[in-house]
């Protein structure tokens, strides 16, 4: 079979069993789009802005585990994609982004719509390629998928100059079944000596903690994490990225940790003597002040990426390996171990943890006659039976979603944790809905975030992706306002917009259903009504309390036991 470069790219996507290609055309990719026109297997999703394409493909990947694939044109198409690429990079999401490039003869001449895409994206991709020869094209595509999906996953950019896709130049097409790269060996097996050491440390712990992260979801280790935790009966906490890997409704789960984590999770971390970090990376939003982070703990750290280990926190037992495999080995060792666990100590530890829990740090005013954002999320949780896929934007609403929607399954909570990209939520919801057409998909957002990729409401109309937009409209960039309230004596500098659109009319203009909800009593019925409309996108504009803040909060430079709470803790509790 002889194919042109454009056809090779498309055929390689077919060979990779790519379902959806999220993209936007332009001059440098016209040959490619012509090749797309001639086939049916890969469905192209035409977004309204390239950033939306990348977020949608990214969320498709997060919710399925399969790589997300994007096609954009050169120059502005490519630069518009960069925010999305960086978002995927910081959360280690497997993606392949194909960008058009000006023809090889004019590269470097400041040609029309030329940017150095390989240069621009170098710091925010796992790897990137510039294809200079059509003979390398098929193999480069294979390498891109291989690198993106193996080891610690990440986005890979393939920059394809226009002349490489010229329809008049055809070469025999062979898509390699496998590629070997001598410089890239992603499979690592956890060191058995280290694993043994870790198990000994765990079984001798008196105040242990399991600190689980996004790596457990990426590495499909949820089942193993649950078995491991049930076997040990230790308290489990999770990062923002790890929510759902361990069921939030289980007794052993003490909630999210970190800046807006629960009192019990952060206090337990602070007092713990042995902490096992699983697929988590000691991010600064988790650790707070490094020097005071978990002062009594010995650390075990399982991660597939050696550079994640001892990056900020020096660990005692590092284990480089696949979370799933390492946990399996640990489970076997624990089951066969002769070490007698100190059940008394563990009981006393749970007693302490439960005391912290009794503070009910997430409690809020349930009698308010203004809608509380927490109330909306709680009702959403009930109306969707906790089964929805929930995407979010960035701000207070994101933290409320993480705190109040109790994720029991992995890949249901889709948010930009690492980069914190406002604008992520809506296109992400579309990507998830395409992957899971029969599931409820909710996008929890704020009136500021939603406007950053609002244009994707049109994409939703075109592809009939009936997601539900839960707009927690506090007429503020709430998260910014909260920091200004706490740290800048309530000087609300530019955190307010006095020209917020009429979201109901806006939704209707795009062909959707719009609702505005003003009273707490209307929250539940409105949600029920919206979710009953299976085939419509419903934009729900909830007018929420403008002054509500996210608690608990570890303020900048503070440590885990120094949380700011809604109500100050009883002396006896702390």
């Amino acid at each position: 079979m002889k194919l042109s470069g454009g056809e090779i790219v498309v055929q390689s996507l077919i060979d990779e069993e790519v379902e959806f290609l999220f993209g936007y055309p332009g001059g440098a990719v016209l040959h490619l789009y012509d090749a797309i026109f001639h086939q049916q297997q890969v469905k192209h999703i035409l977004v309204r802005h390239e950033q939306g394409a990348v977020h949608a493909a990214d969320a498709y990947a997060r919710s399925t585990g399969k790589p997300g694939v994007v096609l954009v044109t050169s120059g502005p198409g490519a630069t518009n994609a960069v925010t999305g690429i960086a978002t995927a990079h910081l959360d280690s999401i497997p993606m392949v982004i194909i960008s058009g490039q000006v023809g090889t003869p004019v590269i470097g001449t400041d040609a029309f719509q030329e940017v150095d895409m390989v240069g621009i994206t170098r710091p925010c991709v796992k790897h990137n390629f510039l294809v200079k020869n059509i003979a390398d094209l098929a193999e480069t595509m294979k390498k891109a998928f291989y690198v993106a999906t193996t080891g610690r996953p990440g986005p890979v950019v393939v920059d394809v100059p226009k002349d490489i896709t010229d329809p008049s130049i055809k070469i025999p097409y062979i898509y390699p079944k496998e590629v070997v790269m001598r410089s890239y060996n992603p499979t690592v097996k956890g060191h058995s000596g280290q694993i043994k050491k870790a198990v000994e440390l765990l079984l001798n712990a008196k105040r242990p903690m399991i600190y689980s992260g996004g790596g457990v979801i990426l590495g499909e280790g949820s089942v193993e994490l649950i078995e491991f935790s049930k076997l040990l009966e230790f308290p489990v906490t999770s990062t923002l990225m790890g929510l759902g890997a361990y069921p939030a409704t289980d007794q052993q789960f003490v909630g999210m940790l970190g800046m807006h984590g629960t009192y019990e999770a952060n206090m337990s971390m602070h007092e713990s003597d042995v902490i096992i970090a699983i697929g988590a990376r000691f991010d600064d939003r988790v650790t707070g002040k490094l020097a005071e982070f978990c002062p009594y703990a010995k650390f075990i750290h399982i991660d597939i990426d050696p550079s994640s280990i001892s990056k900020t926190i020096q660990v005692d037992v590092p284990i480089v390996g696949q979370v799933k495999e390492v946990l399996r080995e640990m489970i076997v060792l624990i089951k066969n171990s002769k070490i007698v666990m100190d059940k008394k100590a563990l009981e006393a530890w749970w007693c302490q943890v439960n005391k912290w829990r009794d503070l009910h740090c997430l409690e809020y005013d349930r009698n308010s006659d203004i809608i509380k954002p927490q109330h909306v999320i709680e009702q959403l949780y009930e109306v969707t039976n906790g089964e929805a896929y929930v995407t979010s934007d960035v701000g207070q609403h994101q933290m409320f979603a993480a705190q109040f929607y109790h994720f029991d399954k992995p890949r249901r909570w889709i948010n930009s944790g690492g980069l914190g990209t406002m604008g992520f939520g809506l296109p992400a919801a579309l990507g998830v809905k395409l992957a899971h057409p029969n599931s409820d998909v909710a996008c929890i957002t704020g009136e500021a975030s939603i406007q950053m990729c609002i244009q994707e409401l049109a994409t939703a109309t075109q592809y009939r992706t009936p997601v539900k937009v839960i707009n927690l409209n506090n007429r503020y960039m709430g998260m910014v306002r909260q920091w200004q309230e706490f740290s800048y004596e309530s000087r609300y500098s530019e955190s307010y917009m006095d020209t917020i659109p009429n979201f109901v009319k806006l939704a209707e203009a795009y062909g959707h259903v719009g609702m505005q909800i003003e009273k707490p009593a209307d929250v539940r019925p409105a949600l029920e009504e919206a979710f009953a409309m299976k085939d419509r996108l419903v934009f729900m504009d909830f007018l929420t309390d403008r002054t509500e803040n996210v608690f608990p909060m570890i303020e900048a430079g503070k440590s885990h036991h120094d949380m700011r709470l809604r109500t100050s803790p009883d002396k006896e509790l702390s």
Partner: protein
């Protein structure tokens, strides 16, 4: 502490900028960097001299290893090794100073590779300290240019950095 990291990397366009970009993005310092293809033209050998605490050096080597194009690397400071740096110095000369400069160069085992009525170019190799000492011994006024390659090195013994 000073570390010499020797890297075997795919000889691809952009490989150098991946390494340089990593150092600048993560705030690691580069004292010197040399790069050239090896006897296997698909591979380049790069030598980076850098400094930092053990923690920082550990991160640098991990981050370098994480680059997809990096095949192998070694921190030479971890084993016994030999290192050399190449230097060229252009010096103003006159009838009075010519002999003296040549004598000094001989002491340091330098080679004069260009001579004019008014100048010498001296080539010298050695460990960086020796080159420093030579430059220090010269009359500052007479030095026109100093050009140094940055150090490169190999481990002692039969083990080597190869595929």
């Amino acid at each position: 502490m000073r570390h010499i990291i020797s890297i075997l990397i795919e000889n691809e366009a952009g490989a150098l900028s991946r390494v340089a970009g990593l150092f600048s993005a993560r705030g690691y310092n580069i004292e010197s960097l040399t790069v050239a293809p090896t006897e296997d033209e698909t591979l380049s050998r790069m030598t980076v001299v850098t400094g930092g605490s053990d923690r920082v050096i550990e991160q640098i080597t991990k981050q370098l290893n994480k680059l997809i194009d990096v095949v192998k690397l070694i921190d030479l400071v971890e084993s016994t090794h030999v290192e050399r740096e190449l230097m060229m110095v252009k010096i103003k000369t006159s009838n009075e100073t010519r002999e003296e400069v040549k004598r000094l160069s001989d002491i340091f085992r330098g080679k004069i590779i260009d001579v004019t009525n008014t100048s010498y170019v001296i080539e010298m190799t050695g460990v960086s300290d020796k080159l420093d000492a030579f430059v220090a011994a010269l009359d500052n006024e007479t030095v026109i240019e100093v050009l140094r390659s940055g150090p490169m090195g190999m481990t002692r013994g039969e083990k080597g950095l190869h595929l």
